[in-house]
Symmetry: C2
Subunit: 123 residues, 2 copies
């Protein structure tokens, strides 16, 4: 793990985040192919840890704890770049995904199409 972020960086970061945003949705995108891999949530600690370690680190809403992606599965995400959106309440990570992103072993979590009726098992 890299050194802790200096306070001035944490302050500058907090200035960019929407003040009332506690849990911020974070999109992980494959930095080479552009494939959207998953959406998870970060609190400020998770975002700071992600910046420090360059490993995608989220807040698990079900377990109420910091969650380093791939910590148990080995399917980590090396962070290439991070962007905030225009109003500072969403995050886009460009990552190198090691192995599948999804716990189902699919490459991406977004593997359930619902655009057409037959995709919903109808017609």
């Amino acid at each position: 793990m890299s050194a802790n972020l200096p306070q001035e960086i944490i302050d500058a970061l907090n200035m960019r985040l929407k003040s009332d945003a506690e849990l911020i949705p974070a999109i992980a995108q494959d930095f080479k192919t552009g494939e959207v891999l998953m959406l998870a949530y970060m609190n400020r600690s998770a975002l700071q840890q992600t910046l420090e370690t360059k490993r995608a680190t989220y807040w698990s809403r079900s377990r109420s704890q910091i969650w380093v992606k791939g910590e148990t599965s080995g399917h980590t995400q090396r962070v290439e770049s991070i962007n905030l959106d225009c109003d500072g309440d969403a995050i886009l990570l460009q990552v190198e995904q090691i192995g599948p992103a999804c716990h189902t072993e699919a490459r991406s979590c977004f593997h359930n199409p619902i655009t057409e009726s037959h995709e919903l098992g109808i017609g």
Copy 2:
């Protein structure tokens, strides 16, 4: 606008969504370039309307109302496909974006890099 969705499709859709998910984060991605354009939220009505009209339709949290993207700006999103994630609480839209996605006139809302110190105005 297309016809209303048949009840059996609405039922099948609701089966796929996480039961306690009221507002679901929805990622809009350029279907040709793969660029992630924005993140907004859908409730079930917004998702149904999106499926019916093939125009991305969200729930505005600030205005507490259904919001057809581009209704006033003309910067609409024609929906090419919709995918749910593995646990049914996030949506990925592949869209054809007319004009810029962001209210700042940037192509994508995710135009604020924060990976490096100098991007935060430090160092």
